[in-house]
């Protein structure tokens, strides 16, 4: 009986393995490091978002007093509106990198952003 070194099915399998390997590497490379934002109200997490995987810009409204509105978009998160006088949280601007924090003290709303490669903490 004649034995061929490689059968047709073997070739298909090898092709599939190579394809799977390359696809996995590409997925890892182009998805980027995750940029995780967390919104908390008085210490309780109300939402955790991977900013790099946000597709549609949206607004999170906190049921706090004063009320705050938070815009979530690809790669960034920020307070866009707050029903208070000083507007310190809105002036914080966009949070785009790890270690960043924006706080609304009166409403006790906090946005923190973390990523794999960043500072441990920010002094302010």
């Amino acid at each position: 009986m004649k034995t061929r070194l490689l059968r047709k099915t073997d070739l298909i399998m090898i092709f599939v393995i190579i394809f799977a390997g390359v696809a996995a590497i590409l997925v890892n490379r182009y998805s980027g490091d995750s940029l995780i934002a967390q919104i908390t109200v008085d210490g309780n997490v109300i939402e955790t978002i991977d900013l790099n995987s946000v597709e549609n810009t949206r607004t999170v409204i906190t049921k706090t007093s004063p009320k705050t509105e938070i815009t979530v978009e690809k790669g960034a998160i920020y307070f866009c509106k707050a029903d208070c006088d000083n507007q310190l949280c809105v002036k914080s601007g966009k949070l785009t990198s790890g270690g960043a924090t924006a706080v609304c003290l009166p409403a006790k709303v906090v946005i923190t952003v973390t990523e794999a490669q960043s500072v441990d903490v920010v002094t302010y």
Binding site: L88, S92, V121, V122
Partner: protein
């Protein structure tokens, strides 16, 4: 080897390779998360975070938060009924707990050595401005003036009894967060955890091996961004900045760092001062004192205490004491490090 068998092996290999490549991240993350714990809350009129790594990380983080809450309510708070500072301010005389007394003594040393640039006796002036509680316009000059001028000289200590005179009222706003960081250090060291990063409103305690990278807040954006990083080891870092608490009135910015001599917010071209120290209370007290004194005199004071300082000016130049320069990296291209 038959055909079915080889197909089975190949599929198994594919599944294995995919699992290794795709699963490595989440698995590592799980292991890391199991060993570390983050807790946050609102105490001392600010936002507090504790990130702890090691065995008993959760218990340690909770103990740290409870300790900060206790220090605020029983010792440093000006408004919490029954706290040491509340009782002292209301009675004019009070027998203080050790921790409040030690904090007061350490702070008074900085008041004296800074020639009153830091003054923990200006509680009445701070109340009049009311910046922390959302003031929207400055007080009248005639109301301000009686509340200025070396009020700390009218704080007398006799054993553990402290008395106030001549309108002095205690305000530990410029030192309490740092003193709380010192107290946190004791808990963390006893707990045996590997690593701890505790931030009390941006006053930071760092503990553990491997070093830390600390961002200096952007004067434009506050804690949401940073302009430079400091590579450092165990210790304490505090910053005083004009961007922290302020209001705008008739086009003028009024921030929370008051000059005790004039009664008005300091206007000397500085945007922030960061102090690196092996003492929490010193890092906090000196960040305010050095800010009020300005960069030349402030630098001398920091060095007198063996601390390192970073001064950021409104025109985006960064000045430092000599030793810390090599640990500093400017990360925002619009800022320059002075020679």
């Amino acid at each position: 080897m038959n055909k079915k068998h080889s197909v089975f092996i190949l599929i198994a290999v594919i599944v294995l390779i995919s699992a290794v490549i795709l699963g490595a991240g989440p698995v590592r993350k799980y292991i890391k998360e199991k060993d570390s714990y983050s807790e946050n809350g609102f105490y001392m009129n600010t936002f507090v975070t504790a990130d702890i790594t090691g065995e008993f990380c959760k218990e340690t983080a909770e103990a740290v938060m409870a300790n900060i809450k206790m220090l605020d309510e029983l010792c440093f708070s000006k408004t919490a009924e029954g706290s040491d500072v509340f009782n002292l301010n209301s009675n004019g005389k009070y027998d203080l707990s050790d921790i409040t007394l030690n904090t007061l003594v350490a702070a008074l040393d900085v008041c004296e050595k800074s020639g009153g640039a830091l003054d923990i006796g200006i509680g009445a002036l701070v109340d009049l401005w009311n910046i922390n509680q959302g003031a929207s316009k400055p007080p009248l000059k005639n109301d301000l003036l009686p509340l200025t001028g070396n009020k700390y000289e009218y704080i007398s200590i006799n054993g553990s009894e402290v008395s106030l005179d001549n309108g002095a009222l205690i305000d530990l706003g410029a030192v309490g967060k740092g003193a709380a960081c010192d107290s946190v250090k004791n808990i963390v060291e006893m707990s045996g955890v590997k690593r701890a990063v505790v931030s009390i409103g941006g006053s930071i305690f760092l503990y553990g091996e491997g070093g830390f990278t600390v961002g200096i807040a952007s004067p434009e954006k506050g804690s949401s961004d940073y302009i430079a990083t400091i590579a450092t080891e165990n210790g304490f870092i505090s910053t005083s900045g004009t961007y922290e608490r302020f209001f705008d009135y008739n086009g003028i910015r009024y921030h929370h760092i008051l000059n005790p001599k004039t009664g008005y917010p300091v206007q000397n071209g500085l945007a922030s001062v960061t102090i690196v120290s092996d003492s929490g209370i010193l890092s906090d007290a000196l960040s305010t004192a050095c800010f009020v004194m300005g960069k030349e005199e402030g630098k001398k004071l920091a060095e007198k205490y063996g601390c390192q300082a970073v001064f950021v000016t409104d025109d985006k130049i960064i000045y430092t004491t000599d030793e810390i320069k090599k640990q500093l990296t400017v990360t925002d291209g619009s800022y320059t490090l002075a020679d």
